[in-house]
């Protein structure tokens, strides 16, 4: 059943800052994925893709070939890439296609995002008065979490140190300079308790994945990776999200809790069976909270896990093995697909300098974004 969808090709345009357009970065990733899959663009019979700030993905057919295939543009904020992947997964499961492409790319200007309150159902006053900043949400969510569950500033910094270390080993990463805990802690305080180096930055990049029916996967790729589940959830009542002018005192779960649980259930596996995980690290606190929300530990256990190095490349559960958003930046459309690209690379043992040393069979990915959406996948060899 779920074994029937395989990832047969992966392609990435390096993340960072580049002179070419976001669309060109997407086309570059698409060509790389086709080459990796050993197939032609004409073999692809469905495509889903999107960007948040770099144009309509289907425009790319003029660079890849006008084969007439159905190409659906996806726009779903930070889960754009994840939504493209889920659409491709569903198209193959539904029998609508044998070979599908999921693609995401983006190119954002420097600095924090500057969204329009109206796009999020908010009055103009919300932006006028200086509340329309995702960074404030992340600061306030981890501020309360640290107070409730005893997470230290040192642990926040250690997440960033780990991810910059992993990024330094990854040739496709943007930030490749390792940093010390003191450098992270003593950097400019952007949104207390989070410093400049605890936040990821909007950036550029592109990722494409070629998916195929499991029974034909080995015709193309000798090391296919299987997508055991792909799930998207929006927010339930009582969750705490970006751009909430109010919250209910009757607190509920984050959409990540529901998305991760559904992904594990669909895959028939549990969090303890995952060998590696990529979880959304918009900032270092997010990685900490998402570890618990996705079911990898109880609230508060992150303090010991991270301090003891359990999430390092050579740890018990390596997290964000490619450096995560912190080292790669966040081109919104591509970010979720980067996690799946990295998981496939690790499962194929092709990650080179940032390959985890232990043998691995399973991987998990999780993206989270405004206004409260989460997409998760479970993958295996």
């Amino acid at each position: 059943m779920a074994e029937d969808v395989a990832i047969i090709g992966i392609g990435m345009h390096p993340f960072g800052r580049h002179d070419n357009t976001g669309m060109e970065q997407g086309a570059y990733a698409a060509r790389a994925a086709l080459k990796d899959a050993g197939c032609d663009w004409s073999d692809v019979n469905y495509a889903f893709g999107g960007s948040s700030a770099a144009g309509n993905a289907d425009t790319m057919v003029s660079a890849l070939g006008l084969t007439g295939l159905p190409f659906i543009n996806v726009a779903n904020g930070c889960a754009t890439g994840g939504s493209a992947l889920i659409s491709a997964y569903n198209a193959i499961n539904a029998g609508a296609a044998d070979v599908c492409m999921a693609i995401g790319f983006d190119k954002h200007p420097k600095g924090a995002f500057d969204p329009d309150p109206a796009d999020f159902g908010l009055g103009k006053w919300y932006g006028d008065t200086g509340l329309m900043l995702t960074t404030q949400f992340f600061g306030m969510k981890i501020q309360r979490y640290m107070d409730q569950y005893g997470i230290s500033a040192s642990t926040l910094a250690k997440v960033a140190v780990k991810n910059f270390h992993n990024g330094s080993l990854n040739e496709n990463a943007w930030r490749r300079k390792p940093m010390t805990e003191d450098e992270v802690l003593n950097a400019l305080m952007l949104s207390n308790p989070l410093t400049q180096y605890m936040f990821c930055s909007p950036g550029e990049g592109g990722v494409a994945l070629i998916l195929a029916r499991g029974d034909i996967a080995k015709k193309f790729q000798k090391k296919p990776v299987y997508l055991r589940s792909a799930v998207l959830r929006s927010r339930p009542f009582g969750s705490f999200e970006v751009f909430n002018s109010w919250l209910s005192p009757d607190r509920g779960n984050s959409p990540s809790v529901g998305a991760a649980a559904a992904a594990f259930k669909m895959a028939g596996m549990s969090p303890s069976e995952m060998d590696i995980a990529q979880v959304q690290d918009t900032e270092s606190g997010a990685e900490i909270m998402h570890m618990a929300e996705c079911g990898f530990c109880e609230d508060g256990e992150q303090e010991d896990l991270i301090q003891s190095g359990a999430t390092n490349l050579d740890g018990r559960l390596p997290i964000n093995t490619d450096g995560g958003c912190l080292a790669n930046g966040e081109p919104v459309g591509a970010s979720g697909l980067r996690q799946v690209y990295e998981s496939a690379l690790q499962l194929r043992e092709d990650a080179g300098a940032h390959q985890v040393p232990k043998p691995i069979k399973t991987a998990f990915t999780h993206v989270y974004g405004a206004p409260g959406i989460s997409a998760c996948t479970v993958l295996s060899r």
């Binding site: 600095g111 500057d114 009055g123 900043l133 404030q136 306030m140 107070d147 949104s191 109010w246 005192p249």
Partner: protein, 172 residues
């Protein structure tokens, strides 16, 4: 209408406050204080309150006002004035100048001063997001008592002061 509580209790006489407000405007010749949005908070008032919508079936209160309950989709919400005092639920300090738009402040990177932002729980009714009057981390602690105030945050093109709501630590 402005000052009637949900329970029907009448607030202080807003007419006299309004009169004081007008007098103050005349004193400053042309400048006026203008709320950043209508129906966000009671104004003018020397005991201002935020205005929300309460849904009797679910008990959910939203801020600001809304047209449907996010829990039950009921559309029978009632306009309510929210408690003026609450407890700090979480906080941060905005450390860099936000992009304009959407930010309406007229600071430059050189003149910008960080400002506090937090969530304040108002009884068991609702937790509201707000600017805070202090940007000192040492003055903020989750669980502390906070009180609603109205603060100027920028001026419009005619030189009028735009005012918004904020929460201030309750002085012991």
């Amino acid at each position: 209408m402005w000052c009637v509580h949900a329970a029907g209790q009448v607030n202080r006489s807003w007419q006299s406050e309004s009169h004081e407000g007008l007098e103050r405007c005349e004193d400053k010749s042309m400048t006026k204080q203008i709320p950043v949005a209508e129906e966000l908070f009671t104004w003018p008032s020397d005991a201002p309150q935020l205005i929300g919508t309460h849904y009797p079936d679910s008990g959910v209160t939203t801020f600001p006002q809304s047209t449907a309950c996010p829990k039950t989709a009921a559309q029978n919400g009632e306009r309510v004035l929210l408690p003026r005092i609450g407890k700090l639920w979480s906080w941060t300090i905005q450390g860099f100048l936000p992009k304009s738009p959407p930010y309406a402040g007229k600071e430059t990177p050189k003149t910008f001063k960080p400002y506090g932002v937090g969530y304040v729980q108002l009884a068991d009714e609702v937790i509201v997001e707000s600017r805070l009057t202090t940007a000192e981390a040492s003055e903020l602690k989750i669980g502390m008592d906070m009180e609603l105030v109205i603060i100027p945050f920028t001026t419009d093109d005619d030189g009028n002061e735009l005012v918004t709501y904020a929460f201030a630590p309750v002085k012991k």
